[in-house]
């Protein structure tokens, strides 16, 4: 009888373990839904690596080999970091130096609470550690505690928030999550009933009686649901509402504060702008330039994100190889830039062609070729506002040579800069074909598209610019419906048109040249001081020419663009010598003529300022989410700590094999009771304490347990250890407390 019971217990345990593992695997797939959006909204994420790392962590935890668990996870973490950030060969002294300097730098930043200064390396490290910890936490939640509800709810909340507020589309994720969650519920409820011994422990029966029917039902419902017509959302999209609310707050404060919610990233373009002439920086240069900050490559149909792998090069001395173009005919110039004290981003603005920056307060500079982001690591918080010097080679491309630029685009350029969303309407492509009909060379095609807008009654407008609806494409809407918009509309449309013709192009953000506020010219050179305000924020286009590189173009009506290509009409070779001042004045006038227009365009640029700080904003959103997630998990962990502890104890002692185990289990129980306010004094005998506990719990279990334990301890009666009643009492009390 007893043997039979034992056998049954064992069987039950085995089934519990098996089902627990099912749950844990399910939790892994749910957790993947957390990682996926990160890749979409972050710009420095190598999704596969994270997925692989998460898989590793879960697998190792599942194997329950504590000895190998830690080293394997650590090695995995180091490998991921190495692949992502460290260029040096792993294990070399250089490698250790790099890692050490990263760690020490971030350590000091942490100490100083300079959250914004933390490098991607360190943030990735933190994310990996978080994945590691979560793999443990989910192990306890799912495998040991068999609690699934909380995490499922959290996952749904997270993914829906991501879907609502970021470019991430959770359409399929939601389906996946439903399937996983319902399966998890099915397993979890079975396990719960198994624990309460309501059911016969037979996995076979469970599989046939519960699991299989639920899978079939689920498959049926998913199929039906997937193919059934879907009603439009009943609630309006909350994003514009929040945006406008944030806008009001921003206007109310009258400060150039960063707007949260508005243009949080470029993934949703469109909408109106408020004007903001807060100065951003002053620049002293001999020529008016656009000021680059970054580029983006991925057009979502609503806006822009970046999918290029950020590969930050660090440079201590300020020599940057941004790999923009290869051209011999350049003028080497220099400029000085000084940020105003309320700038909200810490990336550097720089003219096209920059090869050297010298910021007096920077430790070193990180820059990424693809995104063109240059981020110095500053000595202190206010370092940003020190003036810094820039040297740049300003090229003078000739249209002829651009026309002659033939050959294939490099594979990477094709890979990243020809992307178009599947949802792009066909007519966009047709229009591109139509515009460029008869144009032979890439340059001519680009030139035709650049000028298409001004020649076809497109208007510059900053108010009443719509945000595309759910099934509308941003470019399609602009080209065919509204034909009115601001720089984002023009630049994005040009790129999409180009890409539909397989011409690689990318989206550049930064500022226009600004206004001259002082003439510093001397006899020997022209020199002007420009003031650039938020109104000058802008976006334009760079097109790739094989053998030459990225060449800027300006499709937006009323903007002059970079002066890098000689006369468009090839009848005249440009001479680059004394032109700037003249041009300067011309442009000045031009600018004044366009003043009202400019003002309007300025409005868009408030948004663009955001773009300036966008990357960091993006990642700060992620870090905020990650932090909230971490804190949330901690809070939940804290709130459920007793339950966790109970589970942990019972998991740790599935039976009492020897007196040592019994002794440890009994003393864990004593400690647990102590935590719950029933502390045994050290001069208190166990019997006496047991009475006290029983009084509180209104039972006799502790007394009975203690009598049995005493028999082992003081009588050396080791046969008692294996007694099932002893174990049952122990477990019962733990649950009861």
């Amino acid at each position: 009888m007893r043997r039979k019971r034992k056998q049954r217990e064992r069987q039950k345990d085995r089934n519990e373990i098996l089902l627990g593992l099912f749950l844990y695997v399910g939790s892994f797939f749910l957790f993947l839904e957390w990682i996926r959006p990160l890749a979409f909204i972050a710009d420095s994420y190598d999704l596969e690596l994270y997925l692989v790392y998460a898989g590793l962590c879960f697998l190792i935890t599942m194997m329950q080999r504590p000895i190998i668990s830690f080293p394997v996870k650590l090695i995995g973490l180091i490998l991921v970091l190495d692949r992502t950030y460290v260029t040096a060969t792993i294990g070399t002294s250089e490698w250790f130096q790099t890692v050490w300097s990263e760690l020490s730098f971030n350590g000091s930043m942490l100490m100083g609470q300079n959250w914004q200064q933390l490098t991607p390396f360190f943030r990735t490290l933190m994310l990996l550690v978080l994945i590691w910890l979560i793999s443990y936490l989910l192990y306890f939640w799912f495998y040991i505690m068999k609690r699934v509800f909380l995490f499922i709810v959290a996952t749904f909340v997270f993914v829906t928030v991501m879907d609502t507020f970021t470019v991430y589309e959770a359409n399929h994720a939601i389906i996946r999550m439903f399937v996983i969650s319902l399966l998890l519920f099915s397993i979890a409820s079975y396990v719960k009933r198994l624990e309460k011994a309501e059911l016969l422990p037979s996995v076979h029966k469970w599989f046939e009686g519960i699991f299989l029917p639920s899978v079939i039902m689920l498959a049926l419902f998913v199929f039906l649901g997937y193919h059934a017509p879907k009603a439009d959302p009943v609630w309006p999209d909350p994003v514009p509402f929040l945006t406008s609310a944030a806008e009001q707050i921003r206007e109310g404060s009258q400060e150039g504060e960063r707007k949260v919610g508005y243009g949080e990233d470029d993934s949703i373009l469109g909408g109106s702008f408020a004007q903001d002439d807060t100065p951003v920086f002053q620049a002293e240069a001999s020529k008016r330039h656009y000021w680059r900050i970054e580029t983006k490559n991925f057009y979502t149909g609503k806006g822009w994100t970046r999918t290029t792998n950020d590969q930050y090069h660090t440079q201590v001395d300020g020599w940057l190889d941004l790999d923009l173009f290869i051209w011999d005919d350049v003028t080497t110039l220099d400029a000085t830039v000084e940020y105003q004290s309320d700038v909200s981003f810490d990336r550097l603005v720089y003219p096209y062609g920059t090869f050297f920056v010298d910021h007096p307060e920077a430790y070193y500079y990180s820059y990424d070729i693809d995104s063109g982001i240059v981020e110095p690591e500053f000595r202190s918080e206010n370092s940003l506002y020190e003036a810094f010097e820039i040297s740049y080679d300003y090229p003078d491309f000739s249209p002829d040579q651009l026309r002659n630029a033939t050959g294939d685009d490099p594979e990477m350029v094709q890979f990243y800069y020809l992307q178009l969303p599947d949802t792009l309407p066909e007519r966009v492509n047709d229009l591109a074909e139509q515009i460029t009909a008869g144009e032979e060379t890439r340059y001519d095609q680009v030139y035709a598209i650049e000028n298409y807008f001004s020649e076809n009654n497109f208007t510059y407008e900053t108010t009443n610019v719509p945000i595309p609806g759910e099934h509308q494409d941003y470019v399609d809407q602009f080209l065919f419906d509204t034909q009115a918009g601001y720089c984002d509309n023009f630049s994005t449309s040009m790129i999409v048109l180009l890409r539909s013709l397989d011409i690689p192009a990318r989206w550049v953000k930064g500022f226009t040249g600004g206004e001259v506020i002082e003439n510093l010219s001397t006899d020997s050179e022209y020199r002007y001081l420009y003031e650039i305000t938020n109104n000058n924020a802008h976006s334009w286009v760079e097109v790739y020419f094989p053998g030459i590189g990225w060449v800027p173009f300006e499709p937006t009506i009323g903007f002059a663009g970079e002066d890098v290509i000689g006369e468009n009409n090839d009848d005249q070779e440009t001479d680059d010598s004394e032109e700037p001042p003249v041009l300067e004045e011309e442009e000045q006038e031009e600018q004044e003529e366009r003043e009202d227009q400019e003002e309007e365009e300025a409005e868009e640029e408030t948004g663009e300022v955001m773009i300036g700080g966008n990357g960091s904003f993006n990642s700060s959103v992620i870090w905020m989410i990650v932090t909230i997630l971490a804190v949330g998990l901690l809070v939940v962990g804290y709130l459920t700590r007793y339950r966790l502890l109970k589970r942990l104890l019972i998991w740790k002692f599935p039976t009492f094999k020897n007196p040592k185990q019994l002794e440890r289990a009994y003393h864990y129980l004593l400690r647990f009771l102590a935590v719950k306010g029933m502390k045994r004094q050290r001069d208190q005998t166990l019997q006496n304490f047991a009475l006290q506990v029983d009084k509180q719990l209104d039972s006799r279990d502790m007394h009975e347990l203690t009598m049995l334990y005493q028999r082992v301890l003081y009588r050396n009666d080791l046969a008692v250890v294996q007694d099932q009643t002893l174990y049952d009492l122990w477990k019962k009390i733990i649950y009861q407390v």
Binding site: N658, P659, K660, E663, H667, L670, R682, D683, Q684, T685, L686, Q687, N688, Q710, R711, L713, Y714, R715, N716
Partner: protein, 321 residues
């Protein structure tokens, strides 16, 4: 090992029940007296007259089917009055030993502190040696042999307090204390008819008692519990208020008493609870406090209580993995 086939618990319970019919509300004292009896020790009962000391011993003797002797100690009592004398017998023309009252099963030595040290010493020697020697002749006193000595703590005039070294001979020192109001009322009710002691019948035979005494030795005591006793005893020697701490004999006494106590509770092993319960009764009278401590109104019982608080109860031990 304890003979598991005999269940001693009912026997002991019967004795307790029997005695409690006579002595109202003094279960503790009854139990402790039994502890001393089973551990072959003796009890010093310190209390005012009239709280039932005599009745307790008589009830005990009657319940156990043992002989009961009583010696009333007075200043003029001679040692031979305790131990017995050799008397010249004219017919046989020989000296014949006449047993003194000490030679018996259960002896009540009432008010021992009123007699001269010489007589006290005769009593204590008999207790220690389990024999008396008169005129060079040694007479063995058979088990069960249980002396319950009483002394009156309030009368110091004309008394000879027992020397400290001799207090060591008593396994336990107890106090009866007054009964509670309810108990006293119940007592009066019982006394209305015949005295209950008259109806008391033996519930245990002498042989059973001797068997029980033997079983005490077989009660198991784990080394960690022994260690606990040793720690307690050693602590009494370290405490600053103590002039003379508990001797090793005290440690042995505590262990013996604990074993007997465990047996009474039908347990074949000693637990720290036993030790903690018995320590004040076993150890307090074996300690001599410093004069400073006495002036500071400290007493041995408090001191033992403090020591019990200081020494942690053993709850784990080293197992081989």
């Amino acid at each position: 090992m304890i003979n598991q086939t005999i269940n001693y618990q009912p026997m002991i319970a019967r004795v307790m029940e029997n005695i409690n019919r006579v002595i109202v509300g003094k279960e503790d004292v009854t139990k402790l007296s039994l502890v001393a009896l089973l551990a072959k020790g003796h009890v010093l009962l310190e209390d005012v007259p009239g709280v039932g000391k005599t009745m307790l011993v008589r009830a005990l003797a009657k319940s156990l089917h043992c002989s009961f002797h009583r010696i009333q100690f007075t200043p003029d009592l001679l040692p031979s009055d305790v131990t017995g004398v050799s008397i010249y017998h004219p017919h046989t023309q020989q000296f014949e030993f006449r047993k003194g009252p000490i030679i018996g099963d259960i002896v009540l030595a009432d008010e021992v502190n009123r007699t001269s040290p010489k007589t006290q010493s005769a009593l204590l020697e008999a207790m220690e040696e389990n024999s008396v020697t008169v005129d060079g002749e040694t007479v063995q006193i058979d088990q069960p042999f249980f002396v319950m000595a009483t002394q009156n703590p309030i009368e110091y005039e004309g008394t000879y307090p027992l020397p400290e070294a001799q207090l060591d001979r008593f396994l336990l020192k107890l106090r009866m204390g007054y009964p509670t109001e309810a108990e006293e009322a119940q007592m009066l009710m019982q006394m209305e008819g015949t005295h209950p002691i008259e109806d008391l019948e033996a519930v245990l035979e002498r042989e059973d008692l001797i068997a029980l005494q033997k079983q005490v030795n077989d009660v198991f005591i784990d080394p960690i519990v022994q260690q606990y006793i040793v720690q307690l005893v050693r602590q009494t020697r370290k405490t600053s208020d103590v002039y003379l701490g508990v001797s090793p004999r005290g440690a042995i006494a505590l262990m013996k008493a604990a074993k007997a106590y465990a047996l009474i509770h039908n347990r074949d092993y000693v637990v720290p609870d036993d030790i903690k319960y018995l320590a004040p009764f076993v150890l307090a009278h074996r300690i001599i406090l410093t004069p400073e401590a006495k002036f500071a109104d400290k007493n041995s019982e408090q001191l033992i209580a403090n020591i019990l608080k200081d020494i942690p109860v053993p709850t784990r031990k080293e197992y081989a993995e």
